[in-house]
């Protein structure tokens, strides 16, 4: 790495390529319309990247706002009677603001960042190339799914944002009407059927977002089934493809249940029907069954593709064949299936029957088995490997830490008696941030830094990105580990205030969140710097062997010059490090021999 590599792009054999003639997908067509109406999976992936990272920024800003509000216990607390009416009114407004802010943070992060991020950005970009295909099976559907996302997402943010702005500038309600949402991202009835905030519009927004997810899932399933090279069997696919496949199964089978749930909720609010509303004889626990039948698989929609990324990175950066390929592949599908039969563990204290509590408690614990299979196989992959601590590997190792903590506390919570005690406390908050945010965000960052050179044809600053990775890891643990302790002491979630004895935990947590935010902004800086000043990336900077590395960086419009033949994604022997290129190159002769041998 210390050598001074060439500053011109090279192909997979280390030969310089003329950037003018390169005709990469980035320069293939010009003009804004060529982006907005593109059917190219790579461009759609990049467009997803822009909007999804923007929602991450929005959700993140509100995370910082919440942590700042919670930094001081007294900020929103009326703990003695000497307040004037005006002060009380102000506190009431603050509390309203807090409710809407945590809803916006949660809902935007869940529906617009965590669920779509990896499949929509990296899946779209990498999946067809990993299969040696020219595009996903249904490119038009892909673009449609993008516009479903943008339409639903913008509407959702607009509705929620209005509510927030109305609390800050009360006069604006005359201008653009009321809005906002204060139900939390879960829309539990009966509160959601009667709240004065704009739940109807917000639910409609999420409904449209759901279609984006369904279309992506349908597309990926068809792509993986029909666009594999004929010599690539199921167990020769890269593990990220397996992860996306398991995800697509869940997207296809679970998201429609969210659609019908939200449709019924809309009918409750607009037509006044009472399937879920106890005031009309409905059953609010039934709503929770409906909601979690989608939303528990959704948790795995968030994490399973991240696990796929980690499987790729573990093998590549240990310079060693992945350990237990078939187990990792099957455990993804296994998680996808078990995901559908554990939803009741969200409802242990909701009045669910004891029988179901016991059943779901048992089933939930069984998810630990496929998850642990993955962890052990990753560790076994690293064992005696030549570990290279590049940025993607740092994130991947961070993932193992965070997911282990998040996963083990999940087993802990699956035990009924413990869950009764810590339900709806910060213990839960810490648990799901470790699993959903920590693991998924680390998976995304690992994947982004792994495929970044391929996506943009530019390398990034290795030193700063490592600093950022370490800061994010430290900041994340500082923010959330302390919440396990606060939660087990009884700090309930979703409260704008707390008694003084919890202050120390909130101080530390808030401090951690600032460090975390700093790290993330450094990542942003590194990426922007890379786009502007980064040196051209070699075709294969990491020496990986899955098919997306068998083409130039950035790839051609049609991905490959010739339809490639399937390779073993975890056999790195054909690639050797080339100082001049600053990446791995393939011996041209071996390549040709291989090719002719296989085509005969």
């Amino acid at each position: 790495m210390s050598a001074t590599p060439q500053s011109i792009p090279t192909d997979i054999f280390g030969k310089p390529v003329n950037p003018q003639k390169g005709d990469s997908y980035l320069t293939h067509d010009r003009g804004i319309l060529s982006w907005l109406l593109t059917l190219d999976h790579k461009r759609i992936g990049l467009m997803y990247m822009v909007v999804i990272l923007a929602s991450f920024l929005l959700g993140g800003i509100f995370a910082i706002v919440l942590r700042t509000m919670l930094a001081m216990p007294g900020a929103n607390q009326a703990n003695h009677a000497s307040y004037t009416d005006e002060q009380l009114a102000q506190i009431s407004v603050n509390n309203d603001f807090y409710n809407q802010a945590f809803t916006l943070h949660g809902a935007v992060m869940v529906f617009m960042f965590i669920i779509p991020a990896i499949p929509a950005i990296l899946g779209n970009f990498v999946l067809p190339m990993m299969l040696g295909a020219k595009d996903v099976a249904f490119p038009k559907l892909n673009l449609l799914s993008y516009y479903c996302w943008v339409g639903g997402g913008l509407f959702f943010v607009w509705v929620l944002g209005k509510g927030i702005l109305n609390t800050i500038f009360p006069g604006m309600v005359e201008f653009w009407g009321s809005g906002g949402l204060d139900t939390g991202w879960t829309f539990y009835t009966p509160y959601s059927t009667s709240t004065g905030t704009a739940a109807t519009a917000a639910v409609a927004g999420v409904f449209i977002l759901g279609f984006s997810s369904i279309l992506t899932g349908v597309n990926f399933i068809a792509t993986i089934h029909t666009l594999r090279p004929k010599d690539m069997g199921w167990f020769q696919m890269p593990l990220f493809v397996w992860g996306l496949y398991a995800t697509a199964i869940m997207q296809v089978l679970a998201t429609p249940v969210l659609a019908i749930t939200l449709m019924l909720l809309l009918a409750e609010r607009m037509l006044g029907i009472g399937i879920f509303d106890p005031a009309l004889g409905g059953d609010p626990v039934l709503f929770q069954h409906f909601f979690w039948f989608y939303s528990h698989p959704a948790v795995y929609i968030m994490i399973v593709p991240a696990m796929g990324i980690i499987s790729e990175i573990m093998s590549v950066f240990s310079r060693k064949r992945i350990f237990g390929y078939a187990f990792i592949a099957c455990s993804s599908v296994c998680i996808a299936i078990i995901a559908f039969i554990v939803w009741g563990h969200h409802m242990f204290t909701s009045g669910q029957s004891d029988l179901l509590n016991a059943i779901f408690s048992f089933l939930t614990m069984s998810v630990a088995i496929p998850s642990a299979i993955k962890i052990f196989n990753w560790l076994a992959t690293m064992y005696k490997g030549a570990i290279v601590l590049e940025t993607p590997m740092l994130y991947a190792m961070g993932f193992i830490w965070l997911f282990t903590i998040g996963g083990l506390t999940g087993v802990y919570l699956a035990a009924l008696s413990i869950d009764m005690h810590v339900h709806d406390t910060y213990f839960i908050v810490a648990h799901f941030h470790y699993v959903m945010v920590g693991s998924m965000m680390f998976g995304l960052l690992a994947g982004m830094s792994y495929w970044w050179p391929k996506m943009f044809g530019k390398m990034y600053h290795e030193g700063w990105s490592k600093v950022a990775a370490i800061l994010i890891f430290a900041g994340f643990n500082l923010t959330f580990f302390i919440q396990f302790i606060a939660g087990s002491l009884g700090m309930p979630r979703r409260y704008a205030t707390y008694p003084p004895e919890f202050a120390i935990y909130h101080h530390i947590s808030t401090l951690g969140s600032y460090i975390l935010a700093t790290g993330l902004f450094i990542v942003l800086g590194v990426w922007i710097h890379s786009l502007v000043r980064g040196r051209p990336a070699p075709a294969n900077p990491w020496g990986a062997n899955s098919l997306e590395w068998h083409t130039k960086s950035p790839p051609l419009h049609a991905n490959f010059e010739k339809t490639p033949l399937a390779t073993d994604p975890y056999d790195f022997d054909d690639w050797r490090w080339d100082e001049n290129v600053g990446g791995y190159v393939m011996n041209e002769n071996t390549h040709h021999e291989e090719k002719t041998a296989q085509t005969k």
Binding site: A137, G196, R228, I260, M263, A267, F293, G351
Partner: protein, 363 residues
Amino acid sequence: MSTANANHAQHSEDVRQPQLAHHFDTLEQQYSSAKLGMWAFLATEILMFGGLFCAYAVYRGTHPEVFLYAHHFLNTFWGAFNTVVLLASSLTMAWGVRAAQLGNKPLLVLMLLLTLVGGCSFMVVKYIEYSDKWEHVSHHGSGSFSLFAGSRNAFYTEEGEFTDPTAVGQAVRYGESKQHHDEHAIAHTNQAGDLHDAPAKTLEHQSKHATEQGHQIVDATAAKTLDFKSVQTRPMPTDRSDIRRPAPAPQGLSEAFEHIGGIPAPYETLADAGTGHSVVTWEDLDDRQQGLVSQFFQIYFMMTGLHGLHVLIGMGLITWIMIRALRGAFGPSYYTPVDLVGLYWHLVDLIWIFLFPLLYLIH
């Protein structure tokens, strides 16, 4: 399954059929992936209807008498008629796909037209049924199982109704929402009166946490202490036992439906009248069950409504492929859209096959 063939693709580059998209190698590959995608989409449709079937199963499982009583208002004849119509249109659709496969354009257009006619007659019958049902549920107003809104009004319409804390809590929260959302047709009057100020807001926040615990509709204590300061200054306990008070059993539901009267089912028109079966009458239902009769109709309207929407979408799609068929777009080598729309239409039929016995033939 995977039929990609690199060499074949290279050679056939110049003789590619116009229907073949650039990223597929052969029409077979394109056809099989389109079909796979369609089946995956149909799976989402099944899961979506599955949600409604779940609501149906839960309410039927817990209140069989209510369903038994209420289904008598549905007309079995029209239901069976519609079943036959849909089955026949499925037959013509399948026939149409066969015609497309064999390249018989006039037959294809005829079959699509017949399918369309089937869809239209289904919707006409649905319209007749809906207007009949609508008359039932809207004309009797609060005197019977009014379908929408009526029962909620039980909580809010008459002053002095707020005898239990549940109702007060509901009213407080409702009053709050009423301020912002007058357009909601949930209720017509709001007697929460002077609860409309800041205390209501805080109470709402307080009670919300409680509602999320489950059946505990509203924290009874909080509802009674409407004094703002006393609510606010309640010290935040670190001991969970105070936060998580044992939830009281849900209350007030039976009272809520108390004044809802009943009308007898029109047994004269029943298909099984005179067969000597024991039939459930309005008087056989207890108060709460009488209140739940509207649940059946809500589920009925949601299920058949969503199904009807699918019929309409299917009719639109059939019109579209009929126009394309008239222009000669399909032949033995390319009939994917006909096949996919056919699959969609059969799914609509499939859903109805389950809806008919479950809604019309409850026994």
